[in-house]
Symmetry: C2
Subunit: 209 residues, 2 copies
C-alpha cells in the first residue's frame, strides 16, 4: 500500500490526519454546527484554506470520523462457528450500536444529517448516487443462517434484513433524540429477545428429534 511515498505525500497525509483529529475532538465536544472551519484549522495547526485541500465541503470530514465497517462486522459474526444464529445476530447488533456510540453522539447526529439525502459521489469519474440505507450486512448474517441450515430458505430475506436494520437505525435515532438516555447498546439483548428472535422464529428449522 504505502509503497514509496514521497516526503511530500507523507506530510500531506499527516496534515489530513491532523485535520481529522482536530475535527473529531471539536465536533464531539461542541457539535458540528458550533465548530467552524477556522476552529478546526487552528486546532490542527494549519491554515483555513488547507481544510479545502482535503475536503470539498465542511460536512465531508464527518464521513472520516467513523471508520467502522459493518460488513466486516457481519463477516466476523458469520465466522463464529460455535454460536447459533441468535447469538451471531446479537453480536452484530451489539457491535453495530456499540461502535456507533463509541464514535460519539454528535458525530452520529451529523452522520445521520449528512446521509438523510442521497449524496452524489464520484466513482471512477462517473457520478453515482449513493444511498446510505444499507442493510446488506444484516442480510449477510441472515444468509449465513440459511447456509448453515438454521433457517428455512424460503424466508423473506430482504424484508427481514431491512426491518432488522430499521430497528438498529431507529435505536440510533432514539439514542440521539434522547441525548443518550435511550442507549441502543443497552437494549440489544432485549431487542434480540423481544423483537428479532420472534421475527425469525417462524423460519427456524425444527431440529430433527
Amino acid at each position: 500500500m504505502a509503497d514509496k511515498m514521497t516526503n511530500r505525500q507523507l506530510a500531506a497525509q499527516q496534515t489530513r490526519k491532523k485535520i481529522i483529529n482536530a475535527a473529531k475532538a471539536l465536533i464531539a465536544e461542541k457539535g458540528f454546527e458550533n465548530t467552524s472551519i477556522d476552529d478546526i484549522a487552528k486546532k490542527a495547526g494549519v491554515s483555513t484554506g488547507s481544510f479545502y485541500t482535503y475536503f470539498k465541503k465542511k460536512e465531508d470530514v464527518v464521513e472520516e470520523l467513523n471508520k467502522t465497517d459493518f460488513y466486516r462486522l457481519a463477516e466476523i459474526a458469520n465466522a463464529m462457528e460455535d454460536k447459533d444464529l441468535t447469538e451471531r445476530l446479537r453480536f452484530y447488533c451489539r457491535n453495530f450500536l456499540g461502535n456507533i456510540e463509541n464514535t460519539g453522539i454528535e458525530i452520529c447526529r451529523q452522520w445521520i444529517k449528512n446521509n438523510l439525502s442521497p449524496n452524489d459521489m464520484l466513482l471512477g469519474g462517473e457520478e453515482i448516487t449513493k444511498y446510505r440505507y444499507d442493510y446488506r450486512a444484516v442480510k449477510a448474517v441472515l444468509s449465513e443462517g440459511v447456509r448453515r441450515g438454521e433457517l428455512e430458505n424460503n424466508l423473506p430475506l430482504d424484508e427481514l434484513a431491512l426491518f432488522i436494520n430499521a430497528q438498529l437505525y431507529g435505536l440510533m435515532v432514539a439514542w440521539c433524540m434522547t441525548d443518550g438516555e435511550v442507549k441502543g447498546s443497552d437494549k440489544t439483548d432485549a431487542l434480540c429477545d423481544t423483537v428479532i428472535r420472534p421475527a425469525i422464529s417462524p423460519y427456524i428449522k425444527k431440529t430433527n428429534f
Copy 2:
C-alpha cells in the same frame, strides 16, 4: 377559541399562514437548505423581517409543516371496537408512516434533522428540554390491548413500545435515505406480520377454548 380577534390579530394570523404555506411549498420543492428566508418571504408576499415576527429561527417553521397528532391517532385506533390489537396496531403504523409520507420527504428530512438534538423550548415561561423520541402513542395502543384483555399484563410495555416505535422511525429514516425507494407505508403489513405480531405474540392471551 377564536373568540373575538381584532382585525390586526386576524391579519397577523393570515400573514403567519401565508409564510407557512410558502415555506411548505418551497421546502417540498427545493429542500430546506436551498430555500432562503428571502425566498419564503417573497413567495408569501411579505418582507424578510416579517418572518422573524413569527419564527425565532429558520428551522422553527418546519415544526408547523406536519400537524399530525400521533397521540390522537392512537386514540382513534383504540376506539375501534370491532378490531383486534393487530388490526389496531396496523392502523396506527399505516397512518403514522402514511401521514409522514404525505407531508413530503424534504419536510420529513428536516424534521428529523431538527429533532436529532433535544431542543430547548419555552413552556409557560420556563425553559424545558423536549425530547422528540416519543413512543407514548404506541404505548397507548398496546395498553389498550392490555385493558381489553387481549394481552397479558406482564408484558414489557415500555420496551415493546420503544422497539415498535424505533421500527417506525427506522423505516422513516430508510425512506429518506433511499430517496423514497423504501416506502414505509408499503411495508406496514409486512412489518406487522413479520415483526410486530411475532414480537407481541408471546403475550397474547390464549382465548378460552
